[in-house]
Symmetry: D2
Subunit: 384 residues, 4 copies
């Protein structure tokens, strides 16, 4: 039970946010996640494009009136000019704002933690990529699942060679919340997610990218081609709500990815299984604190988070469950480590480099693009 404590280390940074005002969902999760690292102070925001809502939200969150903005461009400019300006901005808007907001802050030299998918379209993503790689600001993408201890343990198991040469990567992310026309019933989250102008894609962007990132993150392999069935089952829906994709990986491994928002009975069923020639492993968010492992010719093993022999050192003893906010807080802790490294010139701890960055963001957009194209072409194999 050697526990690490990311509360006791290093210096603190100033955090701003674009989006995440009243009525939003994920902004509050980001604020809680950042707060629990003890390494970020939340000091500025363009919390809503509606001025009244923006101000009310800012007040409720104790922002100074001078740090509440209604416009991300103004915020980027103003914060860049302050001595006590923000070090990092969280971009937690609908997808179509990701690119312009990210570009504005990158141009001001302010580091960005952007929600996934990176952007609404692939061209936008490439533009952000260019900006991110040109400057010195850091760029993170909040693929939250990459923050779970046992996802990182899974990656470490693969890296160790324990499962051998990978043959199969199977990942699925079924949800039920759009099984009927929720977007027509006043659900704000559903509205923008099913509006192609704001989201870019449906289940594919909202959760398919999570699944795709997890597959590449744990396996360490790049997917090179996809063949897809892309469907929209709910009458009148303008985006995909179910995608089933065959995957081919660089080493010859095969795979499959299923993302669905019409899977009644599944609240949030992200799950992955990887089969090698020496062993297999499995992980799912519904039982996020364990990793399933089975060697060839052996028995099935359930590895508890932080238990005997695990390489990822968590913040609590085994059996004390790590939740979703805690997973996201890991990404903020990684970002703080990287911010500090840049400041001090001392190399960041290697584990902080597990924070998904701009490359992972662009990979997700290439996956969306290729899948949609394959789906429109009777499942023709498309190269990413």
């Amino acid at each position: 039970m050697a526990l690490t404590d990311f509360c006791m280390a290093s210096r603190r940074f100033r955090l701003g946010m674009v989006g995440g005002g009243q009525g939003a969902f994920f902004g509050a999760v980001h604020r809680r996640a950042a707060a629990m690292t003890h390494r970020f102070e939340f000091v500025a925001g363009a919390l809503s494009s509606d001025p009244t809502r923006a101000l009310e939200s800012a007040d409720a969150l104790y922002l100074g009136r001078d740090r509440s903005y209604t416009d991300f461009a103004a915020m980027a400019a103003a914060e860049a000019g302050r001595d006590d300006g923000i070090d990092l901005v969280a971009v937690v808007t609908p997808n179509h704002i990701h690119a312009p907001a990210s570009l504005a802050f990158l141009a001001s030299g302010i580091s960005v933690m952007c929600d996934k998918p990176l952007t609404a379209t692939l061209p936008e993503a490439l533009e952000v990529e260019q900006a991110a790689k040109a400057g010195t600001a850091l760029f993170g993408v909040s693929y939250t699942n990459a923050g779970f201890d046992m996802v990182r343990e899974a990656r470490a198991v693969v890296e160790s060679g324990a499962i051998g040469e990978i043959r199969l990567v199977r990942v699925e992310f079924p949800q039920e919340w759009l099984a009927s026309a929720t977007e027509a019933e006043g659900n704000k989250q559903a509205e923008w997610r099913t509006d192609p102008k704001r989201s870019g894609a449906g289940s594919l962007g909202d959760i398919g990218t999570h699944a795709f990132h997890l597959a590449e993150f744990i396996s360490g392999l790049q997917c090179v081609m996809v063949s897809a069935e892309v469907d929209s089952f709910v009458p009148g829906r303008q985006v995909d709500d179910n995608v089933s994709v065959q995957l081919r990986f660089e080493n010859g491994a095969k795979g499959s990815l299923w993302a669905s928002q019409v899977a009644i009975g599944k609240t949030n069923g992200l799950r992955i299984e990887i089969y090698g020639d020496k062993a297999s492993l499995g992980w799912g968010v519904a039982d996020a604190n364990v990793l399933h492992f089975c060697p060839l010719g052996g028995q099935r093993i359930i590895i508890d988070r932080a238990s005997h022999g695990t390489v990822v050192k968590g913040h609590m003893p085994p059996g004390h469950p790590q939740g979703f906010v805690e997973a996201l807080s890991q990404l903020y802790a990684d970002m703080a480590d990287q911010l500090e490294a840049r400041l001090t010139g001392v190399a960041a701890p290697s584990k902080s480099l597990l924070l998904p960055g701009i490359d992972a963001g662009v990979r997700g957009m290439r996956f969306i693009d290729a899948t949609l194209r394959s789906g429109s072409a009777e499942g023709r194999w498309i190269t990413l």
Copy 2:
């Protein structure tokens, strides 16, 4: 707890067997399954093509010397000529013998319970189909999973309309036992199953047909097209050991099927999930005594075999697990019901018609054929 008792009913029939001698696996399961119905006496067999083994096996199983044959053709002729000849023969040989043996007994007017896949090739299957439909002998195919109470319950739930219009059918059957070159290590079961001359196909025939039958049996839908990835991961293997198939159904539903014999950690992981627009259901052989059900906007429900409100009446109270042999015995009980109905002219109980017959056998072969063709053509969609 209103239990049915298939031990108390009807008359008994005489059973013979082709294959299933010493060293075989599934023949003994068939014998046990038939015995526990109390409606079949095992009296004759061509248990092995090796005369010594055939005779030793017959002795060990209390067959009369005059009822032990080394040749299925001789057996069919002799049994057809006896007053106390067999009513039913179980064909439990390697796949390439299924067709000639079935044809011999059908030609003699003897009913057949044939192991799956129906044959080694589609043309053989069509020949058996013609013979079966031409005569009055009955024909069953031992898709064992169709005998589990909760599989039949699942089918009844779909038929009741409770899940609404089906959108998705997802089925998988992973196994681990061929994850390395088991066939090179003297495993007799592995040898013939990986020999294309004797098996016709690998994982596709051995377990893919089980998965495919289950999908059509529970959903009540016919699959009309497939697009497939067909792989052989173990070096030197001459048949497929992993197949991943996209499915399209007659009503516009989509689906996927995965069969693998290289999935380390999975002993026998058959599992199906069906999603409609009103509810979903799920079942798997590893937890065969429960059915998962979830209505739209409701909670997940675990339905125990034989519990409150189930429509399938089992032979034991809820919580007393039904095993694999018991599932197969249900198919023999169904066959006995049908044999008796033919004899008496009284209609067989409708539930006995759930016994998979020649049509289900041929469907399986069409699935194998289409999948292999798609796999050879970069996943082109092939119509069954």
Copy 3:
């Protein structure tokens, strides 16, 4: 996958039955279990004390009219006098008939497979014990759970020393079927089980004895003292429907046993956990095909039936579930092995000695007796 085949061996024996006619539950399970061993022919019965029902039941089960009796005493006498008389009788009546029926057959030199609890009262049990030990007839008690492969595997794990010195034995058997006054609603099974004259005890006899036997069978330890709470929650019920017992074992280990028939949501929740100073193990009937094992300082392991390294060799490959009837058939196979050994003078296979015998039957009655006495004395510790 080295499978044994208890179908191919040895000679067959003749089986009779007392009880188990139309409307009974467990008699049919016994007949199926015996039949699937291929080593018993069911030829005689006193299936009901109601003459009409007895005859109808016998006809439906193909018994000869001369082998159908309405009286177990007459049956014992007649069968003992026939050259083709039965070798074994299954006693599957309400508990109060166990002793007189067993005594009649033992007196006639006919071996007995008696359902549990051994008798309705401890004095009866001691009388049967004396008779069983005086003669040469064999005596088995159908503690069915002792027939599950993974229960035997668990016992073997303990015997191997892998869990070290046992510290704790925790066993529970909750059921829901008597959570309301089922006995007042015409349920025949409930009626006699809640009638103290016919059952002797309630949940304690019906399922508590199963739990107690499992604890001693797997642990290899004898329980020496009990302290109990004995309750009857359903108004008007004349027997216990919930017992919670503290256990002390001969080696200083402690334990607990819970049996309940008012546990809504539990169909048949027998489960045991044993903790040693080196490892722990767990097994439950709801997931009967796996054994949970965890070494000190290690990870949790799920051992599949018949998988790599298991010592109990089953009749099917791993992943093909073993059901309740198959578990009971194991006890009949054991009995057949012992009958054959007695006949041939060759020692029975050691595994056949796992069949629970008269000692296990008497232990169960001592447990009932001591628990009821402690329950009446504010939980005073009572020595078995």
Copy 4:
């Protein structure tokens, strides 16, 4: 998906801490939990009784030098005298410090969040109770599990009458971490927990009190008597490491409680089941995001956190797991609500009253005391 957002509300309070310096475990969890509510600023601490460690810890946590103390008495006095003094102190020391520290802050009018068990001895607990009830400072006890959404949902289900009259309350809390003599191997957490002078009791105080609180919290019933087996299995250990307790409740319900720190394979297995005459429910920390519910004559239902029809409104959509830190943060949010209510004179939201208070703390100490006395008297029933 109507989510509440405890980030957007109310005013902030100042938090101090006693204990929780470098090398401690639970202090950091408290700090993260408080931080993620956005309603507490951590500004002062007596983090260690070792002056160097206290100062280093304070620096690492950004406390001002003037707010770092080595002595809780000095801290209470100083903070009470400041305009910007703390509103709340978290007491997260070994148990024997709980009473003197709590008393010091209560005497200064500063509210307290005290870790469980309330104190090391019952007399100390009564002294703290008297002080807490005499003043206006608030008092919370961090029974963390009471902060899980599904624990509160369970309590609401009981309150609704859905399970009817409670018959049985069964709770267990097995852990493995003291299965060998960990305290002799330099584990600081193990050292003080197995030192009777610092802990008061072993597994009983450390986790038994959690289990006991959960039983009373969800059932709404008070336990009136206990009969216990209290054991210490590890040679040389000076406190109990395994307790098995029979419980009697005020309404006649019966129960059992098992707490163990020698249960190999159980990292943190708190689990409770409650059986009424209309339904049952179950919850466990290993699967903290679901509640099991089963009505009489119905099917087993798995209720997901925040899903359709649940009464507890969480902070995230269903399927996004709530972790241990989030559960504790709920208690801090409750405390903030109560602090604000006291300040404003507006009644606190009723849900904030679920925060366990001084009464729950004292109940836990009465339970420890009665259990130890019963354990020393051969399980004699002791009234709490």
